[in-house]
């Protein structure tokens, strides 16, 4: 399994053609206490860079973008009752959705963990 990162602070963990997406620890720390998450419905078709989910904190509401194109296989139902999971485990139990990747070559432009850390340090 390989984990990639976007400049919009999403992470995507790839396992063959399926993948899990969430927001990074940096993203949750900037948003503050998360109070609401809207995940995409199963079967939804996502386009790389397009709106995929919504995350609301006490400070702001933000869109979460699809790191790659694909079809949603599952939204994280646990976030509905416990959005705080995004704060406590952003890169674990606080994942947003799983999808089947349409075109693996779209992963090419994404950052690996070291590169993303460098990117965040520069902000």
């Amino acid at each position: 399994m390989t984990r990639y990162f976007t400049e919009d602070h999403e992470w995507i963990e790839v396992d063959g053609t399926s993948a899990t997406v969430g927001i990074t620890d940096y993203a949750q720390s900037q948003l503050g206490d998360i109070v609401f998450v809207e995940t995409p419905a199963e079967g939804a078709t996502l386009t790389k860079g397009g709106d995929a989910a919504v995350v609301e904190s006490v400070k702001a509401a933000s869109d979460v973008y699809a790191p790659v194109s694909g079809t949603v296989t599952e939204g994280n139902a646990a976030l509905e009752g416990d959005p705080a999971l995004v704060n406590t485990a952003p890169e674990g139990d606080g994942w947003f959705f799983k999808l089947t990747i349409a075109d693996a070559s779209e992963l090419d432009g994404l950052m690996d963990e070291a590169k993303y850390k460098e990117f965040v340090d520069g902000l």
Partner: protein, 532 residues
């Protein structure tokens, strides 16, 4: 029977530790009066009105008669009056002091407006009266419309939208109707990062896909990025000018020209018109539609004090699509309404109706009174003084608060600061809560999103220099505490009727209806205590 607080319920004092004599039995602190919820003081046996016993032997409810208590609290008239008066004393209002909410233009509401609005000829008319009995009221709408057209340099105005976002929707629906009339099914509205948050919501509500346009390092729309994105799928752009970074979009004319050349339309969010009224005419900048918040720029009450009102000025290209109804002035000086019955002849391309009647009449009289009492020169000075006051705040505080766009030149009507320079762990929220202790309503915070820990401060032109100086002194002291990492700021507000509330819990687990709290076994419930 009607003694207040029959239940004997005593509020818990927010302050603990009575040893020093600072606590009182009632929880009241002289003129600072505690007040329970209305459900906690009311009971079913009390009433403020004396109605005859209803004859319940027969009714026509067909079996739908309610068979349980309705659950509303009963209070006598003096109890009701005192309840709401006590609560109002815990509120903050523009009539109490500076209300620095950025992008809200919380200016003084002149009393002459109120005097005019209460004149029976305006206050007591009904929208369904025959038009020949309300010629004066229609005359007010028409004269205000002419002023708004003149001030914005636009040929037409839709007066019916009820507030800013309603006006945005009106403008976007005009754009949609204009495109559809050409058989042009464009799908995208571009919204810069520095726009108001309602803009993308409006575009989405009108069925468009929203795409963001980034801001430049100096806080303005990235013209090159905008031009690069324009194309046959772009219906238009929504630009807030002056923008939420408090800056005037200097490239506005170039933006409009580029959008028009690509076949799109320009919507301008006019919420910040106070900064430019009497000085800049949006029509000259190529704007096709712009709402005007009468409850901001034109001083009608706002923020709990009255309804909004958001007339939308329209360009030549969009005028044919504006909503119904509107008033029309005839050569003999009489006014009529163009409504659905007459629209076929007079206004056949209207996208429809947004509002049951003519718009917010009570706000029209106030706004016109404001315009006439200021005159063209006075309105010009309004914009000048609003900008001067904001710059006075920006420059007085930039040594203790980071001004991210301070180098971009003078700000317009609002000063924007970030939390850069605060000690670790200190936040914009802490500073805002500290402002409550200092007796001010907090500024707009965490908006715009392009600035970290944003603090957006709009003093408006109606504050005196002495008032601004006191505010600056308070904010300077709070900024210094935040920079020094003063942990006591984390406890603010200390002097408010309630201490810092748990906003996260309130958002995650909102409790929106009252229910009687569970009581420990053996203790009488509130309603039992409240019996005669």
């Amino acid at each position: 029977m009607n003694a207040p607080n029959q239940s004997g319920w005593k509020p818990t004092s927010p302050v603990t530790g009575a040893a020093d004599g600072t606590n009182t039995v009632t929880g009241n602190k002289a003129l600072m009066l505690e007040e329970p919820l209305i459900f906690e003081i009311g009971n079913c046996e009390t009433t403020g009105v004396d109605l005859p016993e209803p004859d319940l032997s027969s009714n026509r409810l067909g079996g739908f008669a309610r068979d349980a208590e309705i659950g509303l609290p009963g209070l006598s008239e003096p109890e009701t009056v005192r309840h709401y008066t006590r609560l109002s004393r815990q509120n903050y209002a523009i009539d109490l002091g500076l209300f620095p909410l950025g992008s809200c233009t919380m200016k003084h509401n002149p009393r002459v407006n109120e005097k005019v609005a209460r004149m029976p000829g305006f206050a007591d008319v009904h929208p369904l009266q025959p038009v020949d009995t309300v010629q004066g009221a229609l005359g007010v709408i028409n004269e205000l419309a002419q002023w708004l057209c003149k001030l914005t340099g636009m040929p037409g105005v839709a007066m019916t939208p009820k507030a800013g976002a309603h006006g945005e929707l009106c403008g976007i629906l005009c754009i949609r109707a204009a495109l559809e009339a050409k058989g042009d099914a464009r799908e995208v509205i571009l919204v810069p990062e520095s726009a108001h948050g309602t803009n993308p919501a409006t575009a989405a509500f009108a069925g468009y896909r929203v795409e963001n346009i980034p801001a430049t390092a100096e806080g303005r729309v990235d013209l090159a990025a905008l031009k690069a994105r324009l194309g046959p799928d772009v219906a238009g752009v929504m630009i807030t000018n002056p923008n939420t970074c408090g800056l005037f979009e200097r490239d506005m004319k170039a933006i409009s020209d580029a959008v028009h050349a690509a076949g799109g339309y320009v919507y301008c969010d006019g919420a910040n018109f106070n900064a430019i009224v009497g000085r800049v005419r949006p029509g000259d900048l190529g704007v096709d539609a712009m709402h005007i918040n009468l409850h901001k720029t034109f001083s009608t009450p706002h923020g709990g004090g009255g309804p909004g009102s958001g007339p939308v000025v329209l360009s030549e290209a969009l005028c044919p699509y504006g909503p119904l109804p509107f008033s029309e002035l005839h050569a003999d000086g009489t006014l009529t309404l163009v409504e659905e019955e007459t629209a076929g002849e007079r206004h056949p391309h209207s996208f429809g109706r947004m509002s049951a009647f003519h718009g917010q009449m009570g706000m029209f009289t106030r706004a016109l009174a404001y315009i006439l009492s200021h005159g063209a020169d006075g309105l010009r000075q309004v914009a000048g003084d609003a900008v001067l006051n904001a710059n006075y705040i920006l420059r007085s505080l930039e040594d203790v608060l980071d001004a991210p766009f301070g180098a971009s030149g003078p700000c317009m009507h609002e000063a924007l600061f970030s939390d850069k320079g605060f000690a670790d762990g200190m936040t914009t929220l802490d500073l805002a809560k500290g402002l409550i202790d200092e007796g001010y309503h907090p500024m707009t915070m965490y908006f715009p999103l392009v600035v970290h820990g944003a603090m957006l401060i709009e003093p408006t032109e109606t504050e005196s220099k002495a008032g601004l100086d006191q505010f600056i002194t308070a904010l300077r002291s709070l900024a210094e505490r935040a920079r020094a990492g003063d942990e006591t700021l984390k406890a603010a507000p200390i002097h408010a009727p309630r201490r810092r509330l748990d906003e996260t819990l309130a958002a995650r687990k909102p409790v929106l209806t009252w229910s009687e709290p569970e009581v420990a076994p053996g203790e009488p419930s509130l309603s039992e205590q409240g019996g005669s």
